[in-house]
């Protein structure tokens, strides 16, 4: 059974149509990479999956239930099951690392500080960080911020993680580390993942399936092997880049 099913989803901002009739399925347990250039509507599509933005047209189903236009509160059950890794990390800059990671646990569980602290440390260890609980986001490097955000996203062991450009703006070594972490979490926690990126190294490392967006239209869906035989010029150019890498 699939988690999400999108049928003819459209979205416009003012007079600019960003998404044109997207049909897409996200299967349970897979890592789906949504690939495409800047401004093709990838992030908009990802945000729609948990209702951060609502579609103008079409239908979004989650486990068969229509979630296209729910009231904000009605998305909460879905958002408790799915975590979202924001492009810039979106760590709360008034809170230190411990408070950032503890936030979802404090909000949705009755755990005490003594119970939360080891969970925070375990989550940080998963992203290969330690002894930084007292630091504030302004004290962290870009790569560390992404990893802390990833630790926050997985702290309550979600069924689904949505990654918005997880490696954008990072140096190649940190990019490799993040890619490896995504794959590791995938294997360890059996998380369903949707990764939005234009980075082919990320795609190569984590993708079970690939969806390619071009100018707001979904022009290809399939495995990497199928993509190589797809004969689509733009997708071909991306794959070519992957060969060079």
């Amino acid at each position: 059974m699939s988690f999400w099913e999108l049928r003819g989803v459209t979205k416009s901002f003012g007079s600019k149509q960003v998404l044109h009739g997207i049909d897409l399925e996200v299967k349970r347990g897979e890592t789906l990479v949504i690939l495409g250039g800047s401004g093709t509507g990838k992030s908009v599509l990802l945000r729609m999956l948990i209702g951060l933005i609502q579609a103008d047209g079409g239908q979004i189903l989650f486990e068969g239930k229509d979630i296209t236009a729910l009231h904000e509160r009605d998305y909460y059950p879905l958002r408790k099951r799915a975590s979202y890794l924001f492009q810039g990390g979106a760590l709360f800059d008034s809170m230190n690392v411990y408070q950032n990671l503890a936030y979802p646990l404090r909000e949705h569980t009755r755990l005490t500080h003594d119970e939360i602290l080891p969970i925070v440390r375990k989550s940080l260890a998963r992203v290969e960080l330690e002894k930084i609980e007292h630091l504030y986001p302004s004290d962290l490097s870009g790569g560390m911020m992404k990893r802390v955000a990833l630790a926050r996203a997985i702290i309550n062991e979600p069924e689904i993680v949505l990654y918005d450009e997880p490696t954008t703006g990072l140096d190649p070594l940190t990019t490799q580390t993040i890619n490896r972490l995504i794959r590791k979490l995938q294997d360890e926690l059996n998380i369903t993942s949707v990764v939005v990126t234009h980075d082919m190294s990320t795609t190569k490392h984590v993708a079970d399936r690939l969806a390619f967006l071009e100018a707001g239209r979904l022009v290809f869906t399939g495995t990497l092997d199928q993509a190589r035989n797809a004969n689509h010029p733009m997708l071909g150019a991306y794959l070519q880049e992957a060969v060079f890498e």
Partner: protein, 249 residues
């Protein structure tokens, strides 16, 4: 005109959402106290220093006017009633409102453009409950307290000037300043600031949470908040004064 109605609509919706969250979640006292410190305690300087000098200027100016009638002895009455009924509440609200309103708008605006508000939503929490309620309610309570303190400081400023410049006895000044005030003056003066505090904070939160773009949007929201809050204070001051006078205050 359409813009005014749009903003009013946004404020009404935010207030309704705030009310719903307030009654459906347990209050987060920790967040309220933190905000009371940031918005209230840290505004003491800007609230009190201008108040002292306003009281001194008021005493000085009124002494010039009253001396032509030989009524300098009424300076204390004039200073206390003017400060408690009008100058204290309005001046404190304008000064503190500028500081607090622009601060809230900048903070929430930055959170918006750095996706921290979306992160809250994505973690199934409501930014209105987590951010708006502590700020609005703390400031609605803190502003009247700041007004009481600044009004006292204003009267003390008038007393200091009267004692030094007009050779009025301090005890005489204070006793007349207190006698001149009725309970209605205090209720009218302080009562207005509950409304001012609410207006300033809700306008700031609304502008902050609706920031679009980057630093430019944050700057625009900050300026707009300071301007809108000042206009709102001055307009509502008239209607609130009228309202309190209808109720005998």
């Amino acid at each position: 005109m359409a813009m005014i109605f749009r903003v009013l609509g946004q404020l009404v919706l935010l207030t309704l959402e705030m009310t719903r969250c307030f009654f459906s979640h347990r209050p987060e006292m920790g967040a309220w106290i933190v905000q009371a410190y940031h918005l209230g305690v840290r505004s003491l300087t800007i609230a009190t220093i201008p108040a002292v000098f306003t009281g001194m200027v008021l005493a000085l100016q009124s002494s010039f006017a009253l001396s032509s009638f030989g009524s300098e002895l009424y300076v204390s009455d004039l200073v206390s009633v003017s400060i408690v009924r009008e100058l204290g509440p309005v001046l404190t609200s304008l000064l503190v409102g500028g500081r607090v309103g622009s601060g809230i708008a900048a903070e929430l605006g930055t959170m918006k453009v750095t996706q921290q508000l979306d992160a809250m939503r994505a973690m199934a929490t409501n930014p209105v409950q987590k951010l708006v309620i502590p700020r609005v309610l703390s400031f609605t309570i803190c502003l009247p307290a700041l007004t009481i303190i600044s009004s006292l400081m204003g009267i003390l400023g008038g007393l200091a000037l009267s004692a030094i410049e007009l050779n009025l006895d301090g005890h005489y000044f204070l006793s007349h300043a207190i006698q001149a005030l009725s309970v209605g003056d205090i209720i009218s003066g302080v009562g207005k600031t509950f409304f001012f505090g609410f207006f300033i904070a809700i306008i700031a939160c609304n502008n902050g949470m609706r920031v679009e773009g980057g630093a430019d949007g944050v700057g625009h929201a900050t300026t707009e908040t300071a301007v809108t809050a000042a206009i709102m204070i001055l307009i509502s001051d008239f209607f609130l004064t009228k309202m309190f006078s209808v109720f005998g205050a």
